[in-house]
Symmetry: C2
Subunit: 155 residues, 2 copies
Amino acid sequence: MTVADLLDRARNAKVMIATAESCTGGMVVAALTDIPGSSDVVERGFITYTNQAKQDMLGVRAQTLDTFGAVSEQVAREMADGALAHAPVQLAVSITGIAGPGGSEFKPEGRVCFGLAQIGADTRTETIDFGALGRDNVRRAARDHALALLDTALS
Amino acid sequence: MTVADLLDRARNAKVMIATAESCTGGMVVAALTDIPGSSDVVERGFITYTNQAKQDMLGVRAQTLDTFGAVSEQVAREMADGALAHAPVQLAVSITGIAGPGGSEFKPEGRVCFGLAQIGADTRTETIDFGALGRDNVRRAARDHALALLDTALS
C-alpha cells in the first residue's frame, strides 16, 4: 500500500477524506498531503489535541470522555463519527492514544484506539497496544495503521 | 531554536497555541506534538486543505478567497485570526501556499503566505517565495518558518 495508491482509489471512488487526530497530531493528514494532487481527495483534518478540542470540533461528549477516558474506542468512535458529520466527506479516520513516554489514565504507553467512519457503513473501532516503543515509533506506527485502515475501507 | 524550547517558552508564559494549515497539511502541529508534554501547550490544529474548510473552520470569507485567492496574505490573516477566534488559545500561526509541483492562480510554485495572530497584538502577515525547491522541500521550509514565527512571538 502506498499513499499515492490510496489517494487514487479514493479519487476514482469520488471519496473525500477527513482525519480526526489526537496522539498523531496531524501526521496522518500530513502524510496524505505529501502527495501532489491530494487536494481533490483530502478535505480537512481536525487535530484535537485537548479534550476541549474533541468536544468543540467533533462533538465528542464530555460524558464519554469522563466515563471512558480520551484513549478509548468509545471516544475514537465519536471522533470518527464527528469528522463525518462535521465535514463534507465520505470517509474519516480517528486516532487517540498514549504516545508516551509513560502511560496515563491507568492505560499503558503505546495504546492507540482507532475509528473508521464511512457513509453507508457501520463505524468500526479498534485498539492496538503498540507497546513502549518510544514516542516517535508509536506515533509513526499509529499513522501507518490509520493509513492502512483508510486503504482497507477503499478496497 | 528548538521546538522543545519554543514549547517551554509558551508553557512559562501560559500561552496555548493553535495552527491553521493549508499547504503544510498538519506538519506544523505534528512537529509541535513531537515533543513529550506538548499537550499543555498545543491546543488544536485546523487543517483546512479546501476552501470550504477554510470557511467552515476558520471563518475565512468567500469574498476574500474569490478576490485574492487562497494563497494570499489576506487569507492567511483571516486564517490566523479565525484560529484565535475559534480556539481557546493566545497564539496562532497560519500557512497557505503552493507546494507544487507547478504554480497556480497565476502565482509561482514555492510561494507561501503566513499569518501570526496573538492576543493583544496586531496580526502580522508575510509572503515568502521559497522557489521551485520541490514539494517536500517547500513544505518543510514552510513548516520551519511557521515554527520560527511562533518562536519569535514568544521571545
